[in-house]
């Protein structure tokens, strides 16, 4: 990766000559328009006026040489996953039921980005509330830039899709609950960096599952992803689960790594081949061994889906046609009728299924066996990871078991089969561990295949170093 390809380089040049910012922005706006015309569907509704207003303000910053001018992201256009609130911009989390919701506040990550001189370009498409592995449970389906008949991956499909599609300088803020940064990064050949749970504030994130959601970075290279993560991370008193440690972009020490044997097993042959080949090359730098995580393999999907759906079903209860979003006529209607009408009409099938599953798993009579049990099993699984981390600095596996599937293939999958595709990404997400997906190579038909590295809590530095080594 050349230095001229990095955001850092762009920012330095932008500080010398503002026309660089203008040209880059004009070009990317054009791309956004093209991607819409071609129905590639990466971008939600585009508010050009809003962008131009920001540009005008930024020009003033350039003239005044104020703090934004010296910001790490000066002049950089950023796309934002729809679930992340941007003041005054429609923020729907990919759901029809929130149509028209214009938040009265910026998410903390947006505030950070703006303070560093970034321009908020647009919202990117996603599975409704994050419910999906392929960004097909969407209002409009984003198409993989490598092959438009294939999925971008989900749920941050639009973010990764646009990152791969654009030829301009750009950064994408994504979000991961069960793997929604790593998966699309893998399918679209980008770098997807998911931090430790709590390192990036969730204030302003429309919730999927509050103990699992993590905002993170999607970019063309490791340097850029890490830079974005550095900007958006840090303690936030508005998010009670926010950790005191932010992420600082610096090298981490890696000596010994281990391949998670059991995660390789169910993957496609081609995926195994490409990933193993890449890992072979890494033996120059690290000691590479093997490790087994049998409990995670057996139980992490079950525990994850119980917890995620339980929390999600409570988060989605507020969406009932009052205060924001789709609203109807209340005259003469009993609230049961009014709520049910709107919810039944506006939620997609996947959302309904997950609400039902989550409501069930925490109902009296089932709560102990499912909800509470899953929380105990989670402890077990975190402990299994921590045991492995006593010996190894990073754990490696393929990000996804396949390359990006075709849409007609996806249609044939049952919901259960969909869930099973998350087998590699869910364990780290359930445990709140930071992880990165880097492109390891391509399949025979030129589709990207991602290699994932998982680090212990708060060791994002190692992921940064690792990703740079893999890219080189």
């Amino acid at each position: 990766m050349k230095r001229e390809e990095t955001i850092t380089f762009f920012v330095e040049e932008a500080r010398k000559d503002f026309s660089i910012v203008e040209k880059n922005l004009a070009s990317i706006m054009q791309e956004a328009k093209v991607s819409e015309v071609k129905k590639l569907n990466y971008i939600e509704e585009f508010d050009a006026q809003n962008v131009v207003r920001q540009l005008v303000e930024l020009k003033k910053s350039f003239a005044a040489k104020d703090s934004k001018y010296y910001g790490k992201l000066f002049g950089v256009p950023i796309t934002v996953k729809d679930a992340i609130c941007v003041r005054g911009l429609e923020s729907k989390a990919g759901s029809k039921i929130l149509k028209g919701y214009k938040p009265l506040f910026d998410a903390t990550v947006i505030e950070h980005a703006r303070n560093e001189g970034a321009i908020i370009l647009a919202k990117t498409t996603q599975d409704e509330f994050g419910f999906g592995t392929f960004a097909t449970n969407t209002i409009k389906v984003p198409k993989n830039p490598f092959d438009n008949s294939r999925s971008c991956g989900g749920s941050s499909g639009g973010a990764a899709g646009f990152t791969a599609f654009t030829k301009n300088y750009h950064l994408a803020i994504g979000e991961s609950t069960g793997g929604s940064i790593a998966c699309p990064a893998s399918f679209c050949g980008c770098v997807g960096l998911t931090p430790t749970y709590g390192v990036v504030s969730r204030f302003g994130l429309i919730d999927y599952a509050n103990s699992l959601d993590k905002i993170g970075a999607i970019a063309k290279n490791a340097e850029d992803a890490a830079l974005l993560l550095e900007v958006i991370s840090g303690y936030d008193e508005r998010d009670s689960t926010s950790l005191k440690n932010g992420f600082v972009k610096e090298e981490g020490e890696i000596k010994r790594v281990a391949i998670i044997k059991d995660f390789f097993e169910p993957c496609d042959e081609e995926v195994k081949k490409v990933v193993k080949k890449k890992i072979e090359e890494l033996k120059k730098f690290y000691a590479v061994e093997e490790v087994s995580l049998p409990l995670n393999v057996k139980y992490s999907l079950a525990a994850y889906y119980v917890i995620a759906t339980c929390e999600a079903s409570t988060n989605l209860a507020k969406l009932s046609g009052l205060r924001y979003g789709v609203q109807g006529s209340v005259e003469g209607k009993h609230f049961d009728e009014y709520f049910s009408e709107i919810r039944s009409k506006e939620f997609g099938a996947e959302a309904k299924r997950r609400i039902i599953l989550g409501t069930f798993a925490r109902m009296s009579g089932y709560r102990d066996a499912y909800y509470l049990k899953a929380m105990r099993v989670r402890t077990k699984l975190i402990n299994e990871f921590n045991e492995a981390f006593k010996k190894y600095d990073l754990l490696l596996c393929p990000t996804m078991p396949t390359v990006a599937p075709r849409f007609d293939e996806i249609e044939k999958l049952t919901p259960m089969q969909n869930f099973a595709m998350d087998l590699c990404t869910v364990p780290a997400n359930l445990a709140g561990l930071p992880h990165v997906s880097v492109n390891a190579g391509f399949s025979k038909n030129n589709l990207p295949i991602g290699l994932m590295a998982i680090a212990p809590h708060l060791e994002e530095k190692r992921l940064y170093s690792f990703a740079r080594v893999v890219e080189a």
Binding site: C85, P103, D207, E237, S240, V330, K333
Partner: protein, 467 residues
């Protein structure tokens, strides 16, 4: 039914904690115009996140300690999910598995001990207005000023055995909470009342506003259940509402969808770990509570247990007493005037403290006069009654204006002699053994002195002179 009806009552009481801001956001706790003290958090806007008010925790711990509960050093908050138009998120943030306090005890003036199952912190939903009255409106109007206010919920074991005893408990509880100074002023307690008789199913009367109403609701419901049983019907477990206008409870329509609350640990919040030091200092900082104060008054001023309890059993009464003692008024006389006369007129006229204007300063003079024997008990009583519900003039002013003070210039001895000499027949009758005649003579003396003389003294003098 000639046997004693065994009544079992349990109460769930909701009271507003006296914080400056809401439980999980910084909105003010007082606003007049609708929807003017709200923010994305208490409006339930997607993307917003709750942050716990440390004062609410402090007050919750205080309540738990005052109710002799075990405080859970580590506790957390849960989501109680159910759908209603007054809910900003269709789940309430409350406490389920681990409340801040549990297993406490409250002792009633009668000496009976009522167990407290738990006390926990939760937030209030929004306020609903029914534009054409409840039951007749086509829609509701919602005001989120109330949404997010901190509540403490206190749950008793079903240890109460009559509506009157339930009222006694609520008064005792209110008194304790007043001493603690933890509640929002000028707010009404809401009570859910559970009652069953003779081991049958219980009915729950939800959301009754205030203690008087709760007692009325329980009284009605007890009578209703008795009547049902008398008519051979079985009481089934169900929920009712209390209509304050009619004084009756009505069955609430059984909802098609009985919400299962599906409690989960609220993952937007984190555990609270108080630690032993915090608890120790919270205990040490507790103000003197009614029970302890009663004990102290008994020791310090030699009050009877009964008098001490009455004095401490009403927070406002106790405050006036404290002020009087501070101003060096006689504690014994102060106690007597307050517990006998002041309390009597308040109860007789069914007045709330909020409806009267009573100050300790206005009693200082009266107590002094009584101490010096310059006013009779009867006139002192009259002065108090007038002060509270008459023309409200200060007691001392009232007494001097109406010439009810015993001045030194009245020669009681001369008056007694005068009456004796002008009522020969009565004197003779008394000497013959007719006690009534003595009272007759005494009455004449009192009339002559315009009631300012001390009746005891008069009788004493008469007996002496006629012996």
């Amino acid at each position: 039914m000639s046997e004693e009806t065994k009544v079992i009552i349990g109460l769930e009481i909701h009271a507003y904690l006296g914080t400056e801001s809401k439980l999980f956001c910084s909105c003010a706790t007082n606003a007049t115009m609708p929807n003017t003290a709200c923010c994305p958090i208490c409006l339930g806007h997607p993307g917003s996140k709750p942050v716990l008010n440390e004062k609410a925790v402090e007050l919750g711990v205080k309540v738990g300690l005052a109710l002799n509960c075990t405080i859970n050093e580590d506790f957390f908050f849960s989501r109680k999910t159910y759908f209603y138009p007054d809910m900003s998120m269709n789940y309430q943030i409350t406490q389920y598995e681990v409340p801040v306090a549990e297993k406490g005890m409250v002792t009633l003036p009668s000496g009976k001990k009522i167990r407290i199952r738990r006390a926990h912190i939760e937030w209030d939903p929004a306020a609903l207005v029914h534009p054409s009255g409840m039951g007749k409106s086509n829609y509701v109007l919602i005001d989120y000023n109330r949404s997010g206010l901190p509540l403490i919920e206190i749950v008793t074991e079903p240890d109460l055995s009559s509506p009157a005893e339930a009222r006694e408990f609520m008064n005792t509880l209110e008194n304790i909470l007043s001493y603690l100074n933890v509640l929002r002023p000028n707010t009404t307690m809401k009570v859910d009342c559970n009652i069953s008789i003779n081991g049958g199913n219980r009915t729950e009367i939800k959301n009754v506003s205030g203690y008087a109403a709760a007692e009325k609701a329980l009284t009605f419901e007890l009578a209703r259940q008795k009547l049902e049983l008398k008519n051979g019907k079985i009481i089934h477990q169900h929920t009712r509402a209390f209509n304050a206008d009619t004084g009756m409870t009505v069955e609430l329509r059984k909802k098609e969808t009985e919400d299962d609350y599906g409690y989960i640990f609220d993952p937007d919040l984190v555990k609270v770990s108080l630690g032993k030091d915090y608890l120790a200092s919270a205990k040490a900082e507790l103000p003197e509570l009614p029970e302890a104060k009663a004990q102290r008054l008994m020791k310090e001023f030699n009050f009877s247990e009964y008098d001490a309890r009455v004095l401490c059993g009403d927070f406002n009464l106790g405050k006036i007493f404290d002020k009087l003692v501070e101003k060096k008024a006689s504690p014994q006389i102060s106690a007597r005037i307050l517990t006998r006369e002041l309390l009597a007129v308040l109860n007789h006229d069914a007045l709330l403290w909020s409806e009267v204007s009573v100050s300790a300063d206005d009693f200082v003079g009266l107590v002094e006069l009584i101490e010096k024997g310059k006013v009779s008990d009867k006139n002192a009583k009259a002065a108090v009654i007038n002060y509270v519900s008459g023309d409200k003039s200060k007691p001392v002013e009232f007494l001097s204006k109406n010439n009810l003070l015993i001045s030194e210039s009245i020669d009681l001895d001369a008056v007694v002699v005068k009456i004796i000499s002008s009522n020969e027949k009565a004197v003779t009758d008394y000497k013959a053994g007719n006690q009534k005649s003595l009272n007759f003579l005494s009455g004449l003396v009192m009339r002559e002195t315009k009631g300012t003389a001390s009746p005891q003294k008069v009788l004493e003098m008469l007996k002496k002179k006629l012996s």
